[in-house]
Amino acid sequence: MRYLLPLCLFLALGGFLWKGLDVNPKEIPSALVGHPAPHFALATVEDPHRFVTEQIFMGKVTVLNIWATWCVSCKAEHAVWMDLAIKYNLFLVGVNYHDDLKMAQQWLKAVGNPYVICIFDEAGKLGLDYGVYGTPETFIIDKAGVIRYRHVGSIDTQHWHSTLLPLIASLENGV
C-alpha cells in the first residue's frame, strides 16, 4: 500500500515520457483542413503574364506542393514528384514560394517540371494564407476546392502509399 503513490507517480511520468517519444513538435495540425482553399490571384512560373486563382482547384483532386529553389529538401523531393506525377497522372500544382522567378524557371527547365501549373508566390502571400511554415509542404484539395490534408516536409514513397494515395483515390471516387 505504501508503494501505491510512488507507483502512480511513476506510471504518470512514464506515460508522459512514453508519449513524448513520438510527438513531433514540428507537426502542427493545419487549421485549414476542412476549409475551402483560401483565395489567391497570382502569376505562374511558366508564364508570368498568366494569372490563376483558387478556381483551378475546382472539379478535380489537386495535389498542391509548396517548394523553392533555396529549399534543400524540396530538391530531394522533386525526384519523387517527377515519378509520381506521371505514374498516377496527378493534377499536381506547384507553388514556388519566396523565390526568384529566373532561378525557378531555370531549375524546372534543368531537372524537369512535374507540375501542371506552377504558381509564383514571390511575396509569400499565398504561403501566409495557407499557413505554410516549412517547405516543402503538400496539401490535398478535393473537387469542391476544400483542403482535406496537409503534410509538412518531404513526401517519400512510403508515406505516399500509406496516406496520400488512398486519400486521393477515395476523393476521386467519392464526393
Partner: protein, 114 residues
Amino acid sequence: MAHDIYPFSDPKQRDLFTKVIHELRCSVCQNQNLSDSMAPLAVDLRNEIYQKVKSDYSESEIVEFVTHRYGAFVLYNPPLQWNTAFLWFGPVLILAIGLFLFGKYLKKNKLAAF
C-alpha cells in the same frame, strides 16, 4: 527594437503591435515569439500585422487572422479548450494533491494543531 522598422504615429497602435507580436509564437522557431524571430515567416507575419494595426484592426481580429491560418498552437496565451484543460487546471490539481499529502503528513505526525 521593432519600433524603428515599424513606425507608428499613434502610441496606442504601437502598444497593440508590440503586445500582439510578443504573444504570438513563430511556427518555424517554436521557442521564439514573432517579435524575436528572424525567420522569414515571422518577418512576413510582422509586416502583415503591422499593416493590420495601421488599418485599425482590433487585437482579437488580428489574433483571429493568425490562428485561422496557423491554429491555436501559435498562441502563447492559450484559450481554455478541452485539449488545454490540463494546462490550465493541472497546476491547481497538483497543488491540491500536494496539500492533501501535506495534511496527511501533519496528521500522522500529530502536528495537526499547526
